[in-house]
Symmetry: C2
Subunit: 355 residues, 2 copies
DNA sequence: GTGAAAGCGCTAACAC
DNA sequence: GTGTTAGCGCTTTCAC
């Protein structure tokens, strides 16, 4: 033979390392196309003809191909995941937010990486490092209290970040929520209108929880503006829960026997107060007005039904996720800070307002 | 020059593609070691000398290196993630399980991939495919109702899987939980001992929820064994919630005016029943016994306090995660199926048992 | 205890 | 609309 063409050495591509599945190459072979075409069918279907797409999908299903997202992510330097850090999860405010986020991102083919921080900025940072290492496409963080390194890392990475539900303070990138200060202010204003003069505040711990700090600020401003009693000992911090609420109420009423209303930054705390008041023969709302926060289902069913602050729990999640998705698609959202508002829900645990 | 050594072409390793960070190579250079040594410091620290380890850590911190988990995962064909599918999240049984899982896996450097299925085996399958594509190191699934392809995919992949909280039926690999049948049986037995003869069952939907199906079976067996009224119309299905519980009770008492007890497969349903009974002037536990399931915090604080089934919600999560971790470390757990049990908690919503 | 070479399976970039 | 080439950044394997 005169012309021995130097064939590129396609030699022995023996798979020496363990692999756990089919590769895009097998699909390509079966469909009679190149690997990149299979990749396009999976990631940019609009760039492929209908005929080819059909053939590739047929091959995918026949051999049961599952794409290796790690390889794809390495090549493209991003992954179809969204990282979310929550302080806790055992609370409807958080769990409905998760539901909102997953509902939106799942529809776009993204999955959720979830980390719990217990309000520790250091633990949050660990999760952020882990999410960045996994090349999450976007992040949803809680509150606006973060470690300095969290700020620098996120600034350097350039990935979209949404903070919830606080929309004030030093924001990283985008935010969805409402003003905790305005909400608390509005509720205390309502209590003032009902004629209550000495209003206690039972809140969850303010450490590293900006939204609760804001509520406290709103409470303080309102007590000043409406001429209510002002005294640091009217404010108590405790962990969330019915029993904690009852205990905090005992403490408060011990310190201030003439207390005539309590504003709690959680419905469960408020229900604890009411139960304790009832045990002591204090009538609600006559002798004592009680207001909660969250509007959980029990609030409306409880006797007396609870006056409370209603939040857009689910919408905070969906809106945050939608902001991220817009960025993933290369669009700039209409607004980087979305205020979903709140609502004062007046029920039977507070007296009728004057006039 | 006589001997021109052919130097390996270390030529122009220009980085043409966008990369978002520092690579292991930079750390290696700075620490004066090879990249593989840095990798060992991160993944097998026991195989590296203290001196080298210290130098490498110093370099890592100085330049702020964040490992690319996608690259590591591709090379090793696994990732430090655990995938978990839950039907819902707005429920303490689920949220405390999540807490248990994350507490254990975070300590081992793993992060959680979370998917919600709404009890749809098809949606669960989508999450499983996604988790496998991301080379999750292990999976935690809810219930034992899965799509056929879920079984085949998991069998092929060979990754450790834990099912919770059902420990009966066709198990994939490992399981942690308790017998829903025994729990329901025990509670109905208690109601029988209290002298109730016509016990209704209000449960959440049984479709694709094996644990609720088991509770129903336990109820049916117990009504038979203890000579209680047996009638399919004594069983009602509804979604979880206080309002749903009240509505279901209205339906039940309409059909059976002589009903003298209700067993609800959720405390919130039970509280809805009691509230509705109170509105109708039916005394609990005198005229009507009510039993719940879950032992949420409200159960003990409610008036009357609720007789209920206490579960190991948090422990189910930690135990499942521990089983996975053992497998990750190449060990075989002492038992593949762990029964964490349950407890009947007798309180004031049921009469005193005879004798 | 440490290093060199060779991929893991996919997609960006560019060509046609 | 489709294909070719060259990596993405790490870890495996094997050598010393």
């Amino acid at each position: 033979m005169a012309r021995a063409k130097a064939e590129p050495q396609k030699a022995a591509v023996t798979r020496t390392r363990s692999s756990s599945g089919l590769r895009i190459e097998q699909v390509a072979e079966r469909a009679g196309v190149s690997p990149i075409t299979v990749s396009r069918v999976l990631n940019k279907p609009e760039a492929v003809s209908e005929r080819t797409k059909a053939a590739v999908w047929k091959a995918i299903e026949e051999i049961g191909y599952v794409p290796n997202r790690l390889a794809g992510g390495l090549a493209s330097n991003t992954s179809r995941t969204v990282g979310m850090v929550l302080p806790y999860i055992d609370n409807v405010a958080f769990s409905e937010r998760v539901k909102g986020v997953t509902d939106v991102i799942r529809a776009q083919g993204y999955t959720l990486l979830l980390g719990l921080s217990g309000y520790s900025p250091e633990v949050e940072l660990e999760h952020v490092v882990s999410f960045l290492g996994q090349r999450a496409a976007g992040l949803i963080l809680t509150g606006t209290v973060h470690a300095e390194r969290t700020y620098s890392l996120l600034a350097r990475s350039g990935i979209p970040v949404v903070e919830v539900p606080v929309i004030s303070g030093r924001l990283i990138d985008m935010a969805v929520g409402y003003s905790g200060e305005d909400a608390a202010y509005a509720m205390v204003q309502h209590l003032a209108r009902c004629g209550y003069r000495k209003v206690g505040l039972i809140s969850t711990p303010t450490l590293n929880d900006r939204i609760v700090q804001d509520r406290r600020t709103g409470y303080q401003k309102a007590t000043a503006d409406f001429g209510l009693a002002r005294d640091p000992s009217l404010m108590v911090e405790t962990h969330v829960g019915i029993v904690s609420g009852a205990k905090a109420f005992v403490e408060l009423i011990g310190r201030h026997p003439d207390l005539d209303a309590v504003f709690c930054t959680s419905d469960l705390l408020a229900i604890g107060c009411i139960l304790e008041a009832q045990r002591r023969g204090i009538s609600v709302p006559g002798d004592l007005g009680v207001a909660g926060y969250d509007d959980i289902e029990l609030a409306q069913e409880f006797l007396p039904p609870l006056t409370t602050v209603r939040l857009q729990r689910y919408e905070i999640g969906t809106t945050a996720a939608k902001l991220l998705v817009e960025r993933f698609q290369g669009r700039e959202p209409a607004q980087r800070v979305v205020d979903v508002g709140f609502e004062i829900v007046v029920r039977g645990s507070t007296r009728k307002p004057h006039g």
